[in-house]
């Protein structure tokens, strides 16, 4: 780094706002992209470190940093909590990594208006707890809530587990303060054209969120959870679609396919149909991963069969009559939550659902954040795992599930659940696991599985991401999905970031 730039940054940020230490650069060199985990396991944890890490304390400081970067033509990358899974924060051209977490205050909160103004570096769980202390909730519960920030939510267009009732983050934000890549500080919201919605989901390529006004809601008077059993996926989807078209808005809608259901309901000792054993496939895998070397070797061998086991894993649970588990939750005012639940159960039973009572839903609620933290054990066992979240209309949903599942299971064991359901369609969340002999072959297999899956998504005409975002992982397919819309996206980039310094190489922009 040029000495003049270093000095200028130190002057703006102070000693505790700037670091070129190798430990810091290594820490900020990756997010939770599983491809990066494969590399880390193979001894390459930091292939793309930034040149320095900075911690601005407010928008004005950030603006000064950005202007300095423009002056020196240094790229910059935003960093919230680093829990993205698509490589969105990788510093492809080096430059500055800008950690936003010093900006983390709740500036004001007005329960009457139902709005709060919050600095975007705040941790998701800290934000939710702070609101709860005031009798409020954001209604946004991504599984990464413990290790993500409001700015990260906005950058990726994230979704929480209660999105059917509260919406995704783009439905919750009313306005925002943004530092543009020019260094200008603007407040966006309610314009037409809608610049706020152009910046949400831009993954730091068009500007950095520093503050946001979001909607907040009273904590629910009542939370009612339920589990239902359906014979198969099409039956389950029919129930969900009918509920939504009937005007019911469950807070939670989660339909597990046959393998996911079998693991959830019968994957361990002492568990019955009404007390799910695990919160998902990764939890199951982690529970099964043993402590002693002999069974560890056996497990590794089993995971090595993953490429060949895909189709068998698909058929097995169906043959065993696993069925599909549907978790529903209703929350809000007591009378309304009860009325919604009653109406939903009436519709579901008419469509052939078996009521399993409250236990499955309550068990899910207890463990709903646990599953993501089991991921590392799969990697330790020599395999790899990842997730793919896509969305489409009801009309195309079954075809999307069938096509993508078939594409994935050519080389992986695949599980899926349907969640984030809406009036017009739904998201599918695939979890897949596979194995290869070494790091290089793992990367080749990993890349091939993803290409096959995303090609299948494009072929059906679905959205290649519902809430994880694009990052590097899906950039090429995004451009194919956009088609001529890529020109519009490029024009927005040219207009807002004429120097092309803001998070270069993401969303398919040139590096």
């Amino acid at each position: 780094m040029e000495e003049s730039l270093r000095s200028a940054l130190l002057q703006i940020l102070g000693e505790d706002g700037f670091s070129e230490d190798s430990e810091d650069k290594t820490s900020y060199a990756r997010d939770l992209w599983p491809r990066g985990l494969i590399l880390a396991r193979g001894g390459k944890p930091a292939e793309l470190p930034p040149d320095a890490v900075v911690w601005p304390k407010d928008a004005q400081t950030l603006s000064q940093v950005v202007r300095l970067c423009r002056q020196h033509q240094i790229p910059f990358v935003p960093f919230g909590a680093g829990s993205g899974v698509c490589g969105g924060t990788l510093a492809l051209r080096g430059g500055l990594c800008i950690d936003m977490k010093k900006m983390r205050r709740i500036l004001w909160c007005d329960p009457d208006k139902g709005l709060a103004r919050i600095e975007c570096g705040i941790n998701g769980e800290v934000l939710e707890e702070s609101l709860n202390n005031k009798g409020l909730t954001l209604g946004h519960f991504p599984s990464s809530i413990y290790c993500s920030t409001l700015g990260g939510f906005l950058a990726a267009r994230s979704a929480g587990q209660l999105s059917t009732k509260y919406g995704k983050i783009e439905d919750m934000v009313v306005s925002a303060e943004v530092v543009l890549p020019t260094g200008d500080i603007v407040e966006v919201g309610q314009e037409r054209p809608d610049l706020l919605q152009a910046l949400v989901g831009a993954e730091g390529t068009l500007g950095f969120f520093t503050q946001a006004t979001v909607r907040v809601h009273p904590l629910p008077e009542e939370v009612l959870l339920r589990g239902l059993k359906l014979p198969d996926v099409p039956s389950g989807l029919r129930v969900i679609r009918e509920l939504l078209h009937a005007g019911i808005r469950p807070a939670v809608v989660r339909l597990y396919d046959e393998l996911d259901t079998w693991i959830a309901l019968a994957g361990g000792k002492g568990h019955t149909e009404t007390t799910p054993a695990a919160s998902g496939p990764l939890d199951f895998l982690q529970k099964m991963l043993p402590k002693d070397r002999l069974t560890q070797a056996a497990m590794s061998f089993a995971l090595r069969l993953a490429p060949q086991a895909g189709a068998l894993a698909d058929v097995g649970p169906k043959l065993l009559g696993a069925g599909c588990l549907l978790i529903l939750a209703f929350e809000g005012k007591k009378r309304l939550a009860s009325a919604e639940e009653e109406a939903a159960l009436d519709i579901a039973s008419r469509l052939g659902a078996k009521d399993l009572g409250r236990a499955p839903g309550e068990a899910w609620l207890k463990k709903r954040y646990a599953v993501s933290y089991r991921l590392s054990k799969v990697f330790e066992a020599g395999a790899f795992a990842d997730t793919l979240e896509i969305a489409t209309t009801w009309e195309r949903l079954q075809a999307l599930y069938d096509t993508v599942r078939k594409a994935l299971q050519e080389e992986a064991v695949v599980m899926a659940h349907f969640s984030h359901a809406y009036h017009e369609g739904c998201s599918i969340y695939f979890t897949f696991s596979s194995h290869a002999a070494d790091t290089e072959r793992s990367l080749v297999r990993y890349d091939r599985i993803w290409k096959r899956a995303l090609d299948a998504v494009l072929a059906v005409g679905a959205a290649s991401s519902h809430h994880h975002g694009i990052g590097l992982l899906k950039a090429k397919h995004l451009r194919q999905e956009l088609g001529p819309g890529g020109a519009l996206l490029d024009a927005v980039k040219a207009g807002l970031d004429p120097d092309r310094l803001s998070n270069p190489g993401k969303l398919g922009f040139p590096v």
Binding site: K113, G114, A156, R157, A159, K165, G167, M172, D184, V186, E187, V188, E191, R192, P193, D194, Q197, A198, G201, A202, R215, P218, H245, G247, G332, K333, L336, A339, E340, E342, A391, T392, T393, E395, H423, E424, G425, S427, A463, S464, S465, H466, H468, G469, I470, L478, E481, L482, G483, P484, G485, A487, L488, L489, A491, V492, A494, G495, L496, L507
Partner: protein, 380 residues
């Protein structure tokens, strides 16, 4: 610019082109596929274009022939081409037992393309959640002549929302050729209620309470009468038991329904008269409504509809738009995001678009360097 050269070459491509003035040519395509080559030609000859009637530009695009309607009954979505009016679209949906939901009659003559480019589609019903936008995706002609088809997914995380960027751009960024809109099951089952309030300000706070309690309605608006205000709500589309629960909850909050809502609802559904009284519309925080109205005593009528739990779309007659925009901006409001700006946009672009104006100007320049699409729209 050479309009004559454009006309000569365009006639070789399509018969849907006529001279409609000394310095104007109208293009009336029968299919959207006719457009890319023509736009490429317009670009080569540097001929600016606008869509619709009453606007001045050498090339006028009339999309009246684009009226195809294709319902997706599984997804409760309809694909409608830009030239069909919302009223006619609603009639066509009837045969499928579907509906756009109750919308104010004033927008029934708006075409799908016009409603999206000017954002009046935002006044379509939001039956069950205020955040459920009626617009799912669009197909738009871009200044480079290509047609962008946004993926029809209910929600996504695939970068910036280009649909929302195009919607409301009044043609500046792209021309809407078709859209996918949400529809609902047509049903007779409904619950209605109306309450009397002393002022629109009081009514807006009550509306805010209803929406924050999760009581999203297909219709929720207030109308100023001689010496009081009526707040009117209608729930439809859900099972009767659920609608009944919503009504009971609303009555617990606001008291028993004290007015007959049916006349208000009928009046709202009537199409605008052929010479409507000029109205101005702004978006305001609920709690600032009273202050704004106190500065608009010359108004001849006033009403609002709930836009979000925290804001209302206030519509006033007898008040100059410029004056209302100024008053609203002093109280945290903006010109309505559900009405086109048209001429006001040209004059007030920077003020109405706020601090983001230079950014939007830069986007326009990058996308349409010759400023061929709707020159001057939004003041960009």
């Amino acid at each position: 610019m050479s309009l004559e050269a454009f006309l000569t070459k365009a006639r070789a491509i399509t018969a849907s082109i006529t001279r409609t003035g000394d310095a104007q040519v109208t293009l009336s395509p029968w299919r959207a596929e006719e457009l890319p080559r023509l736009i490429e030609l317009a670009s080569q000859e540097a001929v600016p274009l606008v869509v619709g009637h009453g606007k001045a530009a050498p090339l006028r695009l009339d999309l009246a022939h684009l009226q195809e309607v294709t319902p997706d009954e599984a997804s409760f979505v309809v694909r409608a081409e830009a030239g069909i009016s919302l009223g006619k679209l609603e009639e066509k949906l009837r045969s499928f037992s579907l509906t756009l939901g109750p919308f104010p009659g004033e927008i029934s003559t708006h075409t799908v393309g016009g409603a999206i480019s000017g954002r009046s589609y935002r006044k379509l019903g939001r039956y069950f959640s205020f955040w459920e936008d009626p617009l799912l995706s669009i197909e738009a002609l871009l200044p480079d002549g290509r047609i962008y088809h946004a993926t029809p997914a209910p929600r996504r995380a695939t970068g910036p929302d280009l649909t929302r960027l195009l919607a409301g751009s009044e043609g500046a960024f792209g021309i809407i050729l078709a859209a996918r809109l949400r529809v609902y099951r047509r049903t007779r089952s409904a619950k209605e209620a109306a309450w009397r309030f002393a002022s629109l300000g009081d009514a807006s706070l009550a509306g805010r309470e209803l929406l924050r309690a999760g009581l999203s309605c297909a219709v929720l608006f207030a109308q100023e009468e001689k010496d009081s205000v009526a707040l009117v709500a209608r729930w439809e589309g859900a099972p009767s038991s659920l609608q009944e629960a919503r009504l009971r909850e609303a009555e617990d909050m606001l008291g028993p329904t004290s007015l007959d809502p049916s006349d208000f609802l009928k009046k709202r559904a009537q199409p605008a008269p052929s010479e409507p009284e000029a109205t101005a519309e702004v978006l305001l925080p609920c709690e600032r409504l009273g202050e704004v109205l106190s500065q608009c005593q010359e108004r001849t009528s006033a009403r609002f509809s709930m836009y979000t739990p925290e804001s209302v779309l206030l519509s006033l007659s007898g008040v100059l738009p410029a004056a209302l925009y100024r008053i609203a901006s002093e109280h945290g409001g903006v010109a309505s995001p559900a009405s086109a700006l048209y001429e006001e946009g040209k004059e007030f672009g920077a003020r109405l678009l706020g601090a983001a104006y230079p950014s939007l100007q830069a986007v326009k320049k990058a996308l349409d360097p010759l400023s061929l699409f709707a020159p001057g729209a939004l003041g960009l």
